[in-house]
């Protein structure tokens, strides 16, 4: 079985959970003898390539005017979408990115044949995101053509790559699987960006199978996008086990540490964490709260923390990279994910892997696969405070959750998820 896979990010250059999931999945697929050709914009050359071949989309020549127009729907207009609609990026980062991109993007290298152009992708979510999505589709078609006979199925992750998947399908005639890691409703609540929604729906409709990362997401796909339930399959994410060199990381403070790790955006429910922290601090003094990450709500949260007068017990680390994430887990006594809407949510699994008991919101896909996690409604600040208090004050409880949680998370293997995905490939390519 050979797969042409379209992604947008891959470790080590990741901004969110999508890259981690792609990595775990491709790793699992490799074990099941599935060969993956992973297409992503702007491969820098140091992606971990032990399990996948990384094709740099920028290196593929796209013939101008050939099939370009054909695969970009005629009625599509290029719009500069609002910054808060851009996944994984805050308005500040977006603005900085926009300025940067004005200097480097849209670079078209001419080489002899004026009809052939080499597209340079920024590889990040940029100002002219829609334009990039469409360009990516043009290159995808060229990739599919050049790789003709080398793949049996096409797999596209999240809406940014759906046009690419559709274009590849049209050129090659191979079946298309689209993978929903998050929908526009998860990212933006009820204020969906219509253009993004349209791309998502077009991708799902064109697909032979739709993979949702949770039943929660599957429900959204069928009810909000009107996709035929018979072609939507849930495959829960899993967790990658690497060498955990930070297990013995020495913590500096004696206080209990409660950690939130993720983008500080509306979707992740940072506000509820702050309110719960203030409630806990009224009862127990020897606890510290850490918010690790960055995002468009960060300044708002910092102000709220100051206003509540708990800034000496509530700390911000900014965006954590590499080892610091593991260090953070190693230091934590409780991990919390109070997401308002979370299609899956892989980070609690990472925490459990590090022996940390977790509290997750009932509005997360990961809640479907975990028994040994405290589950609360994201808005129920009292229940959240209660759970934090219990896990830090009654060590027996925290230990039980940590021990059972580790067992539980160990059983969530990408191997199993990949096996299901392989079955899906087989069912469509017959």
């Amino acid at each position: 079985m050979r797969v042409l896979m379209f992604g947008w990010e891959f470790p080590p250059h990741i901004a969110g959970g999508l890259g981690t999931a792609c990595y775990g999945l491709t790793k699992g697929l490799a074990k099941h003898d599935v060969k993956v050709i992973f297409v992503m914009p702007h491969a820098t050359g140091n992606e971990d390539q032990r399990f996948v071949r990384v094709v740099n989309a920028s290196d593929v020549d796209a013939t101008y005017g050939d099939f370009g127009k054909e695969f970009i729907p005629g009625d599509m207009t290029f719009i500069h979408i609002d910054s808060n609609m851009v996944p994984y990026i805050s308005p500040e980062e977006f603005e900085a990115e926009r300025v940067k991109s004005q200097q480097t993007e849209g670079r078209v290298t001419q080489h002899g044949d004026v009809w052939r152009e080499r597209y340079n992708f920024s590889g990040r979510y940029g100002a002219n995101l829609m334009e990039e999505v469409a360009r990516y589709a043009v290159v995808a078609a060229e990739v599919a053509r050049q790789l003709e006979g080398q793949f049996d199925v096409i797999h596209a992750h999240d809406w940014l790559t759906y046009y690419a998947g559709m274009a590849a399908k049209q050129v090659s005639g191979k079946p298309l699987v689209v993978h929903i890691h998050a929908t526009e409703f998860d990212r933006s609540g009820e204020n969906v960006n219509q253009s993004v929604y349209n791309i998502e729906r077009a991708g799902m409709e064109a697909a032979d199978r739709v993979i949702a990362v949770s039943n929660l997401t599957r429900n959204i796909v069928t009810s909000r996008y009107g996709i035929d339930p018979s072609k939507v399959v849930t495959v829960h994410n899993a967790v990658t086990f690497g060498v955990d060199s930070w297990k013995d990381f020495e913590r500096g403070v004696d206080d209990k540490i409660v950690t939130f790790l993720g983008r500080i955006t509306y979707q992740k429910g940072p506000d509820y964490f702050v309110e719960a922290a203030a409630k806990v601090l009224k009862k127990v003094p020897n606890v510290r709260f850490v918010m690790a990450g960055s995002g468009d709500m960060m300044n708002h949260v910092v102000r709220r923390v100051a206003k509540l007068g708990i800034a000496d017990r509530f700390h911000f680390t900014g965006f954590l990279k590499g080892d610091d994430v593991q260090k953070m887990f190693a230091m934590s006594d409780v991990y919390i994910m109070p997401s308002v809407s979370e299609p899956f949510g892989i980070s609690p699994l990472e925490a459990m892997k590090s022996n940390v008991p977790v509290i997750i919101s009932k509005q997360s896909g990961v809640a479907e696969v975990l028994d040994y996690a405290v589950k609360v409604d994201y808005w129920d600040v009292d229940a959240m405070a209660d759970a934090i208090y219990a896990l830090i004050q009654y060590p027996a409880l925290g230990k039980m959750f940590a021990r059972k949680g580790l067992q539980e998370v160990t059983s969530l293997k990408w191997d199993n998820a990949a096996e299901k995905v392989k079955e899906i490939y087989e069912s469509v390519s017959q």
Binding site: G252, V253, R288, R303, G309, A311, H315, D324
Partner: protein, 411 residues
Amino acid sequence: MKTICFYFQIHQPLRLKTYRFFNMGKDHYYLDDVANSTIMRKVANRCYLPMNSLLLKLIKQHKGAFRISFSMSGLAVEQFREYAPEVLDSFRELAATGCVEFLGETYAHSLASLIDNDEFVDQIKKHSAMIKKEFGMKPTTFRNTELIYSDTIGETVASLGFKAMLAEGAKHILGWKSPNFVYANAIDQKLRLLLRNYKLSDDIAFRFSDRGWNEWPLTVDKFISWITPEDVPGEIVNLFMDYETFGEHQDASTGIFDFMAYLPKAALATKKIKFATCSETAAAHQPVAVLSSPHPMSWADEERDVTAWLGNELQNEAFNKLYSLRPSVKAIGSKDFDYVWNFMQSSDHFYYMATKWLSDGDVHKYFNPYESSYESFINYMNVLSDFAIELDKKKEELGKSARKSKSVSHA
């Protein structure tokens, strides 16, 4: 005859290094030594050394007729000792001329006067002792951090034996009155007040090199012509500014040194102007009225209030959390902890957390090493949290050894 009273402020904060949550409990060194030494060396070479040598020359040249005042924070002196001892030597040389006065202030360039009177008094005493040790004189005129002044702050200062205090010639306090007279504190009228003539002070400190200013270029003769005429009311002109104006805020290429080099000679030649130190100026003139300032005012920003340091929830939180540690610091009474306690108090940290970026944003940004007020707040709180943990540990340790020695004596 009019008296020009020059006072120059010298202060350098001890800047904090990037201190992350991961450092807490492990790393108790909070300072950015590289930034602190680099900035000190740079300012020493561009401002302190050349300006000190110019002033020394002028004082000698005019044989006692040119007189000036300095106020120098304890944190600046600490950094002179560490990174630029020759600057301290040159200040001592100036002190030895007898034409230079050193004012009293808070050791840490702190905002203690706004929250904790005991700490405020401690800071003043510590500073006066330092000045006595370094320059051999006891300060008798006081200037509070950023010229922060209120009736009650003045009362405290008077109770410590100071004869005069500096304040901003703020319009909302003076109304129709002129800053060019000596005034008295509203509660203790023995305390005389010298008010900054902000127009003439800022002509030198801020506008000197501003080519968009309709009076540019500012020549000495023009400047003097704004002071000498009979119809300009007042007996004194208080020119209060940062010492870093010379060579740092105003680059040497603007001609700021030449301006100062020529000013004393030209002013004295008019026979209508003399120079005096702050204490001399205050003593030589009777207060013309009592000045009431029930709320704290300062020399900063358009509002001349204290909102540059305590104007948003970040600043208030950091400020309150800092001063809640005072009982522990005092109970421990250790040099190491006092050292941190001092540099954490400097007003600069709170200034970096300001979010009022409109018309005064330029000045704020100039002094701010952080990208955002939030960033500076987070960094400050991380350091403060670690300091608090260390204080608790030390207290516990002391408690234990006290109990132990007690039980030993019982045995």
